[in-house]
């Protein structure tokens, strides 16, 4: 991938960190590097910038994280059927720019692309967690507030993570991405403890909405390569966008996937239709006023988010689930941020508990 950076800002206390050294070594020579006392200030929105969120994406800040790295998935709620995903925040924001991305609202107050130099502390947190939950199998992902692999060629974090998880039986790492940056992954043996999960969208969504990401075909080809290298591969059809012709396009996308990736080797499919708070919709429409994908037939759901009208989204879910079941009947599927009633209507069963689903997805 060829992401553009305007600047690198390194917090003084991280000058001698391994991460800072790798970043300085790999960053293109034309990108200026500067040092500041408190990296958090460099992550604040730039005053006067026409698009402060977009500008933040191009300013990498290497700093120490002050708060815990590990947390429950912020999407989780008692209202929804959840998957027991644990989030490890090693970076915040993303060099890619998807028009529907919730980070536009979530990180509006600190949009700088932050990468945490003290990420070894995160591994200590994981170690402590694993000791507190003997016998449980936990799925931990780094792709919630950032793409797990974007800039991995600069930061090299993935190798450390994969090696850490490879040595621990009760922990499964999920690297979630829209890139094709898998070169570092191919150099280490994950011992089946790492799932690389791609968000997949049809070409129409990729072209209109997923700026600076790898094409869907490139993502699928990367999935094939990591499978051959001993990784597990999962796929997030999320957000599913209910535009005219979506059913046909998602079907063709799945056809392409099953042509390249043996269905029996897929770890899971997660699905979720596009949902936006009204605030996110406003922010997204301001930044991407010509994207038709942001203009579906949404209605306000009881949780305060805009979603496609229930009959429209349930029909699309059913079409997609039918296509997956035809080729991959044994692959686990789950819905993200959906009400249990929708879950039942789409998957024909009661949603499992978050702990049970999390365990199932982690064990594979």
């Amino acid at each position: 991938m060829n992401f553009e950076l305007d600047a690198i800002v390194i917090e003084d206390r991280c000058r001698s960190s391994a991460l800072a050294a790798r970043v300085i070594e790999k960053v293109p020579p034309h990108v200026p590097v500067s040092y500041v006392a408190d990296g958090r200030e460099a992550a604040l929105p730039q005053t006067g910038a026409r698009d402060p969120f977009g500008a933040g994406k191009r300013r990498m800040v290497v700093l120490n994280r002050r708060s815990p790295f590990l947390m429950a998935c912020p999407s989780g709620s008692a209202e929804f059927a959840c998957c027991g995903y644990l989030v490890l925040t090693l970076a915040s924001n993303c060099p890619m720019d998807c028009s529907y991305c919730f980070l536009q609202e979530y990180l509006a107050g600190n949009p700088g692309f932050q990468v945490y130099a003290n990420y070894a502390d995160a591994l200590d947190e994981l170690e402590r967690l694993a000791k507190r939950a003997p016998g449980r199998h936990l799925r931990v992902g780094t792709g919630e507030l950032a793409d797990s692999l974007a800039f991995d060629r600069i930061t090299g974090m993935s190798r450390d993570l994969v090696e850490f998880f490879a040595a621990r039986d009760g922990l499964t790492l999920e690297l979630k991405t829209k890139t094709a940056e898998i070169d570092n992954l191919l150099k280490v043996d994950p011992k089946s403890h790492t799932i690389v999960a791609w968000t997949l969208s049809p070409d129409a969504v990729f072209r209109n909405s997923e700026h600076r990401t790898a094409s869907p075909s490139a993502r699928i080809k990367s999935a094939r390569r990591v499978l051959e290298a001993g990784y597990r591969a999962g796929f997030h059809l999320d957000p599913i966008i209910a535009y005219a012709g979506a059913g046909r396009d998602y079907g063709e996308l799945l056809d392409e996937l099953f042509d390249f990736v043996p269905p029996e080797r897929i770890a899971f499919f997660s699905m979720g239709t596009m949902r936006m708070t009204p605030g996110l919709r406003t922010a997204a429409r301001e930044r991407f006023s010509s994207d038709p994908m942001l203009l579906g037939e949404e209605v306000l759901s009881p949780d305060g988010r805009l979603r496609a009208f229930a009959p429209i989204r349930i029909a699309l879910y059913r079409e997609i689930v039918g296509r997956i079941k035809a080729s991959a009947p044994k692959v686990p599927m789950y819905l993200c941020m959906e009400q249990p009633g929708v879950y039942r209507r789409v998957l024909g069963a009661e949603p499992p508990s978050a702990a049970a689903l999390g365990d199932l997805l982690a064990r594979g």
Partner: protein
């Protein structure tokens, strides 16, 4: 800048053609008269020349309120992006052209019909679902005192049924009517939250 022909309404239904030298001046004049906020005026002026002129003609013909114009602006912009088409062509479509040309009804009623027509273009599947649900509910011929209320803009998956009775006998009669229509009402509730396959039936 060519003179722009604009229909204006005089008293007693008289319409006349006015040649406006600058459409932007005419739009600014309309905006000033209606206290249209600057941000919305800027969006209007940013439209292609023929688009903004077509909207001005409609704003005048239907005597749109400021709020109605703001709603129309937003809806038209969204339709234009969704369908990759010019706003002028949306305004020339049959349901809207009929409302503009039709002389029946008051200006507020025509303005309301105009906004509803725009909404039906912006949300075609929602509009179709609402139309089918309303038709099915009407076909039940429920007695006065029973109201089946659809969620506003179909924004929820719950159907509300209200009973209004002045005495016990009246209430019994309404409950009996509801009971007799249990299956049909359950079907209506399913249509709000079930698959589109049900809507097609």
């Amino acid at each position: 800048m060519f003179p722009l022909p604009v229909f204006r309404e005089g008293g007693q239904g008289v319409r006349y053609l006015e040649l406006v030298v600058s459409d932007t001046a005419a739009i600014r004049a309309w905006a000033a008269e209606r206290h249209l906020p600057e941000t919305h005026l800027a969006r209007w002026l940013k439209m292609a020349e023929r688009d903004r002129a077509a909207l001005l003609a409609i704003a005048r013909a239907l005597r749109l309120s400021t709020g109605a114009l703001v709603t129309a602006l937003a809806t038209l912009e969204e339709i234009s992006v969704r369908e990759s088409c010019a706003i002028e062509s949306v305004l020339a479509r049959d349901p809207i052209a009929r409302i503009i040309k039709g002389r029946a009804g008051t200006a507020p009623a025509r303005a309301k019909a105009f906004l509803e027509a725009l909404r039906a273009i912006r949300y075609p599947r929602l509009a179709e679902a609402a139309r089918k649900l309303e038709a099915e509910i009407a076909a039940l011929h429920l007695p006065r005192g029973v109201s089946v209320v659809l969620p506003k803009d179909l924004g929820a998956d719950q159907l509300r049924v209200e009973l209004q009775a002045g005495d016990g006998a009246g209430l019994k009669r309404l409950i009996g009517a509801l009971y007799a229509n249990t299956e049909a009402l359950a079907h209506n509730a399913d249509m709000l939250g079930c698959g589109e396959d049900r809507l097609r039936k």
